[in-house]
Amino acid sequence: MTEAILNDVLQGLKLAVFQRDPRGRLRLVNRPPEWLAVLWPQAAQSDGALPPATSPFLENFLVDATACWQGPDGHRVGSGLWVESDARGREHHLQATALVSAGRALLLIEEQDLAYRERAALLQTAHEVTLAYEKLQRAEQALVEQKRLLEQRVQERTLELIQTNAALREEITVRRRYAERLQSVREIDKAILAAQSPEAIAEAALRHLHLLLPCEHAGVVALNPDSRSAILLASVDGGQFSAARREELSGDQLEAAQVLKTGEAHRTLGAPNHFAADAKIWPLILDVPLVADDTLVGVLNLATGSPDAFTQEHDEIAQEVAAQLALAFRQAGLFAQISAGRERLRALSLRLVEVQETERRFMAHELHDEIGQLLTGLKLTLELPSHEAANPPGASVSEAIAVVDELMNRVRQLSLDLRPQVLDDLGLMPALDWLFKRYHKQTGIHVHFKHAFVRRRLPSQLETAAFRIVQEALTNIARHAGVQEASVRLWLDEEILGVQIEDAGAGFDGERALDGRASSGVAGMRERALMLGGEFTLEAKPGKGTRLTVELPLDAGTAGASSGGTGGVG
C-alpha cells in the first residue's frame, strides 16, 4: 500500500528513480513516469536499465554522479537543467540529481516543465531587464560623451570667440587710433593750410601736435637760405606757446645738430637741445627734417622727459606733420612770390593808366590850348583883309577859313575824346552830364541818369575809372545793343562808389567777353575796376540785354588798393 502511494507521488512529481546495482547498471525502481516512456522506452520497461549512451548530457553527468556516489550517506549532486527531444521532436526539460541514501546510489531524473517555465520566464525577464539596463547605460554613456564633446566644443568655441573678440577689439582699437590720428593730422593740415605766414603755420601745427605727442617741448625751426642760421618760428613748452618768436639760432648751436648734417630724422638721448636757447638736458630729443623739393627748409624739434616716450606711431605722426609743414612752407613761399608779383603788376598797371591819362590830359590840353589857339589865330589872319578892305574875301580864302573851322572843330572833338576838361575841372558828375549830352547828340541814344550822392569831388583815379567805364559801356551799347535808350545809376556810401550801366538790347555772351578774346572792351573795364580793388559784375546773355555793375572802394584813389580783387592773400 505504502509503495503504491509512493509510486503515485513519484509519478505525480514526474520523477524517475534509478538505483545503481552492483554491476553498475542504473535500474528504474519506481513506476516509470510518462515522459520516460516517451523519451527512453527501454529504460521504462519493468526490468529496464538506463543505457549509458542514452543522452550525451547524462553521460557527462554520470561522471559527477559516480564521484558523488563514492561519498557518504546523504551526499548529492545536481546536473542542472537540460533539454532532451523525443522522437516526435517534443522537448523535455529535465534535471538530474545523484545522491547516496542508506548506502544506495540513486539517480533521480525529474521533468521540470513548470519549474522550467517559471525559471525561463524569470531568466527572460532578468535578461531583458539587463539588456535594457545595458542599453540605458550605453545611451547614458553616449549622452555623457556627447555632453563632454559638447562642453569641449563650447569651451573651444568660447576660447575661439574670446580670441576673436580680443583680436577684433585690438583691431578696432588700432583702427580707431588710426582714425583719430588721421583726423588729427587732417586738422593739422587744415590749420596749416589756413595759416598764411610761416609763423602762423608753425603755431597752427604745434597747437595740434603737442596734443598728439607726449612731448614737453616742441618747436618749429626755419632754416635761413644760407643754412648756417635759423629762426625759431614758434614753440610750445609744457603747454605754453611762444608763437612768432623769430628767435635767431646761432651757427655754433646748429653745427652740432645731426639732423642738419644728414637731413634725416634723428633721436638724441640725454643732451641739450640744439634748437633751443637754454642748455637744459633732455632725456630724448627727436628732430624731424622739413624737406621741400629735396631741400632742407627747417626742423620739427620735439623733446620729452622720458627716453622711451616716443613710439613708432609717434615717429610716424611727427614725420607726417613734418611733411605737411614743409609743403605748407613751400606753398607759403610760392604764394608770397605770386602775391608780390601780382602787386607789382597792379602797381605797374595803375602807373600805366596814370601815365595814359596824364598823356591824354596833356594831349587834350595841347590840342585845345595850343593848336586851338594857333588855329584861331590862323582864322583871324585869314579873315583880317576882308574886314580892313571892306572887300569880301576871295573864294580861296573862304575855303581856307572853312577848312580852319573844320580843323578847329576836329581838334576840339579830339581834345574832348582824349580827356574832357570838365572831368578835371568840375569832377565826375558834371563830366557824366556832359558825356550823356554829347553821347545823345552823337548816337541818338537817350541816357537815363540816376544818382544819389552829394556832388563832391572824389579821388582823381576813382573819378577817371568810373568815367572811363561808363564811357566804354555806352560805346558798346551804341555799337552792339541796337537800342534807343540806356540807363546809368551812380551811388555812393561810406566805402564804395557804385556804377551800373544797363540796356535792354541785343546782349552778348558775357563769359566770352570777359576772357579778353572779344574786342568789346569788357575785359578792359574789369581790369580797370580790379586794379583799384573793386568788384566787377557783368550780367549779359544774347537777346536779354546787359547789366554791368562796378563797385570801387573809396580808398582806392588815396591809399591805394590792397587787393587785386581775385581772392587770395597779398
Binding site: P56, F57, N60, V63, D64, G80, L81, W82, V83, H93, Q95, Y116, R119, A120, L122, L123, Q124, A126, H127, E128, T130, L131, E134, R138
Partner: protein
Amino acid sequence: MIQKKICMVGAPSVGKTSLVARYVHSIFSEKYLSTVGVKIDKKTLQVDGRDITLMVWDLAGDDDFQPLQVSYLRGAAGYLLVADGSRRATLEHAVELHARVTQAVGAIPFMLVLNKSDLGDLWEIEDARIALLMAQGWAMQRTSAKDGTGVDAVFEQLARRTLAPGLGRTRGEPSA
C-alpha cells in the same frame, strides 16, 4: 564517424542559440529567448573529405543567475567564445570566460566569434582591440546569425581545429 563535442560559451544574449539555430536548422528568429540549462544539437559536416558529427552544446549565457558550469565542457573538443559586436562589454566577458574555461579544462581549440555583424552602425568593438587579441594568437570570425554571414565558416574552422589540433591551432591550445 568522427564525433566532436563543441560548446557555445558567452554572455547572455550574444546570439549563441541563434548561431546554433542558423547552423543546424538554418533558421533565425528576431525574438530573444533566454536559454535555460543546456540544449544539445548535432550536425554532420565534411571537413577535408571526412564526415564529422558535431555535438553542439548550447550553454546558457554566463551571468549571476546561471554561472557557467565548466563541468559541461568536460570532454569538449573545442568551443566557440561568442561576443556581441554591438556590446563592447560582452567581448571582455568572453575574455574572462576563456580564462575560466582554460583553467578548468585546459587549453583546447576555440574561436572568438564576434556576432551581429549586421548591426554595422551600432558596432562598438574597435579594430585595435581585435588586433590585440589576434596578436595573442586568437582566431576570430565575424558572424551574423541573422543573415548567416560567417556562421558555417566558423563551425567548419573549429571542426578543422578539433581534427588536427596541430594545424591552425590557436596559440596556447594543446597539441594533442
